[in-house]
Amino acid sequence: MAMIDIHVKILRYQPGKDDKAGWQDFAISVEDEATILDVLNEIHWRHDGTLAYRRSCRSSICGSCAMKVNGRNVLACETPIHRFGSKLKIEPLSGFEIIKDLVVDLEPFFAKLKRIKPYLIVDKPLPDKEFVQTQEQLEQIGESTLCILCAACSAACPSSWPNQEYLGPAALLKAYRFVFDSRDDGADQRLEIVNDKNGVWRCHTIFNCMEACPKKIKITEYLSRLKVKVVENSL
């Protein structure tokens, strides 16, 4: 372990003070094993207390700290600086309104989630114990349940940027997760919601969401399967 000097550019925006966001430079020393989050903490704790960012778990599961580093959407906590070298350019996720510095407004993101009815809908009587679900049936949805709602996918999606009404990859992935759950009876309701110009058809299979996903979920593939299901269902 050794200390190294790095140069960090951060896109700052302080509401009430700044008219628009602007870059600020920091020259700091950190351990060579540091993560992006370590860098932000170092700046916040020792250089400039006014810097704002979200973080919590430090172990890539809570989804708080998605941001753009040198043009790529990453989770700050799990991303070592050596992936980028000694020059870092850190900015908030694109496509969302900035509240302050690296903190963006996620209310629209979570509101979209609610629109697709993100809960198991069961018409049949509940069993005394668990529903039987085979390993193959679970396999259908397994990977999609890894989603941590960090919004890195939506922020990378060119179809989302110009159209705030588009449900976006995270909400559509959630729709997939329930439509393909063997226990769920709500597929018709959800397929109707996503069968819309701002639903699954707004996905143009650009694959940016998949590349941005820190959990490596094959989002584009699942959205394509959702499209097929919509078509099958309307036949």
Partner: protein, 576 residues
């Protein structure tokens, strides 16, 4: 009452602080009854640290081998080093199966047996494979599922709000005051019933598995309100913290068969727990690791040992433990399929917390008198279900089961009672905290917090001694003094992280003193509390819970007897 000073005044039946498993489960129960439930949380609900739990949720479903409620109870009593209250454990094991089936009916994607039932794996201190799991992301899927259920049932969410004071008067809860992190400003939440479900207090340590958010805000609020805390000296150190980072590598790794080895490549647990080996309870394994390190058998003589997964093979690692594999690779550049993973004990779970009875009502003295309308559940509570040491996978079960129980009792309470009047000047205490930091001096929160955390890791870890703890008490006093002069750089209203971290530091400094005082008073070794100067358990003097108040700036202690009701669960020598 100057409600107009608050930007917002909210009148809500049940106000729940914390959006982890306990808080969300309670909110769901209240909302399903038709009453209004609001969840106040400092992070978005799906960011809560329940999501960090990996290995499983305990319930004796007996899906993969024989199991029973009696066995779950016996294991929990023994795991707690006999300090847990047996009436609480009994209620817990009786409700555990229902809790898991409920989760499954809500859509939790549990891993499955070959015939399509919920799969179960072995875990430390449990005598049967009892951990119901979803790969190694069990907490994550439970948390997301509960959040989704709460959306369905129209729970109100106040995301990114920091609670600054409880509104209590004449032993009746009346609500609370919280700071709107996103936009700034104080809000009054006037409530009939308040639940504190704010999680653990592990951020007082430098090496910790806990999230940044786990600053013990709930316990600090209660202490500040003149109420006691219970058994704060009992803090679990998890044996498999990722070296240097402290973040969690689930016990599921050992449940699936991983080894822990020292510098000589010996599975040293054979010396400490020959029968259970790596699947002894966490206090036992952490002490063993620390002993190996202290005696020079850490890897290369350093302060870590290895978690070895290699013999499990690539398929099992990637299918059952994918998160663990990714964490080791991302953070330490260690490929667990090919290399052993450096680990060390890390501050993990808070057995102590806010004292409450089996109805989750907060109690205020050793006689068990309650505060009307105030409830607590999950890691922030001390019922005491876990006693001196918690068994893995009992925590998710605890949070969900007692969250539901809290929701039931809160609903009942709200139906029977009118809103109690707010106390005079409800904003005063909260406003005072903010004003002091905005007009504060030249001290900054970061160096004070770092000094606290470093010293807590040094002195209040797996092994403790009177000399170390007395020094720690001195450090805390000095840091509390310095805190009086803390000011913040950021004077803005919107997303003022500087302000929030300074407020959290006050909480850390407050409850850390209680931890040290409780540990100093407890002259015995039990569960996670091990004193080198009193290495034996002493049931004659110490089969009792610590209660601690802050009175006129001093910590005052009292003690209450542990509830031991069954002849078959009397204290005996604890061997694994």
């Amino acid at each position: 009452m100057k409600i107009e000073e608050a930007r917002k005044y909210h009148k809500i039946d049940a106000v729940i602080v914390g959006a982890g498993l306990a808080g969300l489960r309670a909110a769901l129960e209240v909302a399903k009854s038709g009453l209004t439930a609001a969840v106040i949380t400092k992070v978005y609900p799906t960011r809560s640290h329940s999501g960090g739990a990996q290995g499983g949720i305990a319930a004796a479903l007996a899906n993969v081998s024989e199991d029973s409620l009696e066995s779950h109870m016996a294991d929990t009593v023994k795991g707690s080093d006999y300090l847990a209250d047996q009436d609480i454990i009994e209620r817990f094991v009786n409700e555990a199966l229902k809790t898991v089936y409920e989760f499954e009916h809500m859509g939790v994607p549990f891993s499955r047996t070959e015939d399509g039932r919920i799969n179960q794996r072995p875990f430390g201190g449990h005598s049967a494979p009892r951990a119901c799991f979803a790969q190694d992301i069990t907490g994550h899927v439970l948390l997301h599922t509960l959040y989704e259920q709460c959306l369905q049932h129209n729970v109100l969410f106040f995301n990114e709000f920091q609670v600054l004071s409880l509104l209590l008067k004449d032993d009746v809860a009346r609500g609370l005051v919280a700071w709107d992190i996103r936009d700034g400003g104080l809000h009054i939440f006037h409530a009939k019933a308040v639940l504190l479900a704010t999680g653990g207090y592990g951020r007082a340590w430098k090496v910790t598995s806990n999230a940044h958010a786990n600053t013990g805000d709930g316990v600090a609020l209660v202490l500040e309100a003149g109420l006691p805390l219970e058994d704060m000296e009992f803090v679990q150190f998890h044996p498999t913290g990722l070296y240097k980072h402290g973040i969690l590598l689930s016990e599921a790794a050992r449940g699936e068969g991983a080894y822990i080895v020292n510098d000589r490549n010996e599975r040293f647990m054979k010396t400490y727990a020959a029968a259970k080996m790596e699947l002894a309870p966490r206090d036992v394994v952490s002490r063993a690791e620390q002993t190996e390190v202290n005696e020079g058998r850490g890897i290369g003589g350093q302060d870590y040992v290895y978690l070895d997964l290699r013999h499990l093979g690539r398929d099992k690692i990637l299918s059952r433990l994918p998160q663990i594999y990714d964490l080791a690779l991302n953070y330490l550049k260690v490929d667990a399929i090919r290399e052993p993973v450096p680990i060390q004990p890390t501050a993990h779970y808070s057995m102590g917390g806010i004292p409450a009875n089996v109805r989750t009502e907060v109690i205020k003295d050793a006689a068990g008198s309650t505060i009307k309308g105030l409830y607590t559940a999950g890691e922030t509570s001390c019922l005491s279900l876990h006693g001196a040491n918690r068994l893995g996978t009992n925590s998710l079960q605890d949070a969900a089961t007692f969250g539901r129980i809290a929701g039931t009792h809160m609903t009942e309470f709200c139906r029977k009672n009118a809103f109690a009047e707010l106390p005079a000047k409800p904003l005063e205490a909260a406003q005072g905290k903010i004003d002091r930091l905005w007009s504060g001096g030249k001290e900054r929160h970061a160096p004070i917090r770092e000094m606290l955390q470093e010293n807590m890791t040094k002195t209040m870890g797996v092994f403790r001694s009177q000399d170390d703890m007395l020094k720690m008490l001195g450090v805390i006093k000095e840091l509390q003094e310095r805190y009086q002069k803390v000011g913040v750089d950021d004077k803005g209203q919107a997303f003022n992280l500087d302000l929030i971290e300074a407020l959290e530091l006050e909480n850390l400094l407050s409850f850390s003193e209680v931890i040290v005082e409780g540990a100093l008073a407890r002259k015995e070794s039990r569960g996670a509390h091990f004193r080198s100067d009193f290495p034996k358990r002493n049931d004659g003097d110490w089969l009792r819970h610590t209660l601690a108040w802050r009175r006129s700036g001093k910590i005052v202690l009292d003690f209450s007897k542990a509830v031991v009701i069954y002849p078959q669960y009397q204290p005996q020598e604890r061997k694994y």
